[in-house]
């Protein structure tokens, strides 16, 4: 195992003031198995180098060895926190390539499921971010709320985290009145709780001190690293795939894309909280407008052959722009499936954002961009 440590990790050399600290892959606040090689001068970070690859499961290679349908369960395991968005996103990609019609009801169900999943992902981020900053109680409050979402989704998907709910052309199970009623009740609950979180967390002087002007990602920096999602919108760029290139019926819904210009940890915090509110708005409209009808087309092909050519399809996951680049060769096994995952690009901005901050800020900043390691490693 001695070879596993890159030369940078070993101390020695330098002027003796700078020492290196190996943070992760086993560390209480490194989400998943992120490893940060920190060069520290006292408590100040001189250089930070993220090391990834500890949970590589070769999803992209697996896609080349199984047919399009068989890849379905993999999708929700790429980013397990927004598994629904990935699962349905993959279905939408294949549907677009093959021109499969999705019934109106299925579109609405997918939007509700997607947005519920987005809220649950943001709630989990909210909790773990506070946990990174040492606030344990908000973590449990947010998990309590998230539990309700998991229960609601469990009701139709049968899973709590790694959903396999989507099918090409629709979804596996229809939602009932009970599901919609519970979702409506949840929206009321989360809105009330968001007010509480605002008082408990966002207005708290300690949190504000910890977050304001910490880990600033400027607009230029965000663009050059390809940062997407809430982290990009916190840096002043209005880009949301749901709005920029509407897919899966999002063009029918009225929602705002929240943008802040500070680019600091606090801005990223506020963007995610506003996104929860926007998701609530979308779900509300979807529940109101959900039509009757079938959830799957009656006639479906047994094999989903991807015609020769290259295809790209992107969805907005809870972390940003998730793209699937699919190369087809006429069979139902993709010649290549490249996944463009948001966390990877977001993490790539970290060395620059972390340099010059304090050790404690490192945790806050890495927490604030909301990385999911399996998504980075794929």
């Amino acid at each position: 195992m001695t070879n596993a440590v890159p030369p940078e990790a070993t101390p020695g050399g330098g002027d003796g003031e700078v020492y290196s600290l190996n943070m992760g892959p086993q560390h209480p606040s490194m989400h998943g198995v992120l490893r940060l090689l920190l060069d520290l001068k006292g408590e100040e970070v001189v250089k930070a180098k993220p090391v990834v690859g500890y949970s590589h499961r070769a999803h992209e290679k697996m896609a080349e060895n199984r047919n399009t349908l068989q890849f379905l369960p993999n999708t929700s395991r790429i980013d397990y926190l927004s598994g629904m968005i990935y699962n349905l996103g993959y279905c939408q990609a294949i549907e677009k390539i093959l021109g499969i019609e999705v019934s109106e009801r299925a579109v609405y169900i997918r939007v509700i499921a997607n947005e519920l999943n987005r809220i649950s992902s943001h709630l989990l981020w909210f909790g773990t971010f506070l946990l990174d900053l040492g606030g344990i109680t908000p973590f449990l409050y947010s998990f309590d709320d998230r539990e309700e979402i998991l229960d609601i989704l469990d009701q139709v998907t049968g899973s709590r985290l790694t959903y396999c709910y989507g099918r090409f052309g629709g979804v596996t199970m229809d939602v009932d009145e009970d599901f919609l009623a519970r979702t409506t009740a949840f929206l009321a609950r989360i809105r009330e709780r968001l007010g509480m979180y605002d008082d408990l967390v966002a207005k708290n002087v300690i949190l504000r001190e910890r977050c304001i002007n910490v880990g600033v990602i400027s607009t230029e920096m965000a663009k050059s690293y390809g940062v997407t999602g809430p982290s990009l919108r916190a840096s002043g760029v209005v880009y949301d795939v749901r709005r920029a290139e509407p897919y899966g019926g999002y063009e029918k819904f009225d929602f705002d894309v929240p943008v802040l210009h500070e680019g600091d940890t606090m801005a990223r915090f506020h963007i995610r909280i506003s996104e929860i509110e926007e998701s609530c708005k979308i779900i509300e409209q979807a529940i109101k407008g959900i039509p009757e009808g079938a959830i799957l087309p009656k006639k479906m092909p047994k094999r989903f052959k991807i015609p020769e050519g290259e295809y790209y399809f992107a969805v907005e996951s809870a972390r940003g722009h998730f793209g699937m680049y699919i190369v087809g060769d006429g069979t139902d096994v993709p010649a290549k499936l490249k996944l463009r995952t948001p966390s990877f690009s977001n993490l790539s901005a970290m060395p620059e954002a972390l340099a010059g901050t304090m050790l404690a800020d490192t945790i806050a900043i890495v927490g604030s961009i909301d990385v999911v390691m399996p998504e980075i490693d794929r």
């Binding site: 390539i97 469990d154 899973s159 396999c164 708290n204 087309p297 006639k299 020769e308």
Partner: protein, 240 residues
Amino acid sequence: MGYFGKVLSGFGSLLTGMRITFSQFAKTFFGRKNVTLQYPKEQPKLAPAFRSAIKLIRFEETGTHDCVACKACERICPSYCIKLSGGKVEGIKKKRVAEFEMDFSLCSLCGLCIDACPTDTLEYSKVYEEAGYNRDWRVDLVAEFREYEAEFVEKQRVIEEKAATAKKAKAEAAKKAKEAKKAKEAEKAKEAEAEAADTAEKPDTAEKPPALEAKPAKADAPAKAEVPTAEVPTAEAPKS
């Protein structure tokens, strides 16, 4: 806001936080309401969509499953956790599964096998406690049906015999009534009868234009049909 103003507003925000946590404390402490589900003592309500290891459905009419060992589930399974064998059974036309083993430790509960099943005889079981003491989670799906199998085969033989005689009579009647067209219909009925027995793959219809009718396609390669439903295979002319 001066120095003291800042200090005071900071303290104010801290007190707000403490008020909130105390109200939650009071709800639990005085209101005796908490959100914990005391799991082994209380059981969670399982959702209708709850997914556990797959099992064969016991149909009421037949008293047993309807697996015809077509292996569609075995082929679609992304985790390769299903192994089954079976086929022709002495005395009846209908094919039956002999061994159906599923390794639950590999299963990802995606449900593709359930979708693929042509006879809809698979469903999720509702086992909540899935933990075990070893890694061997191979489930024998046909175990609970074995003792009924002989009985079922006998029943099925009777049914099939009846059906055969009925069909014969019908075919004779039809023959009498009309010529070639009627004969074709009888063929179709026969086909529907033997529906479940077909195992081979469905013809690749992708190349076929959408306007093409199903009947000829079926007639061309009936033995190849993976899912021998009478449905028209959608001609999904791929968009390129």
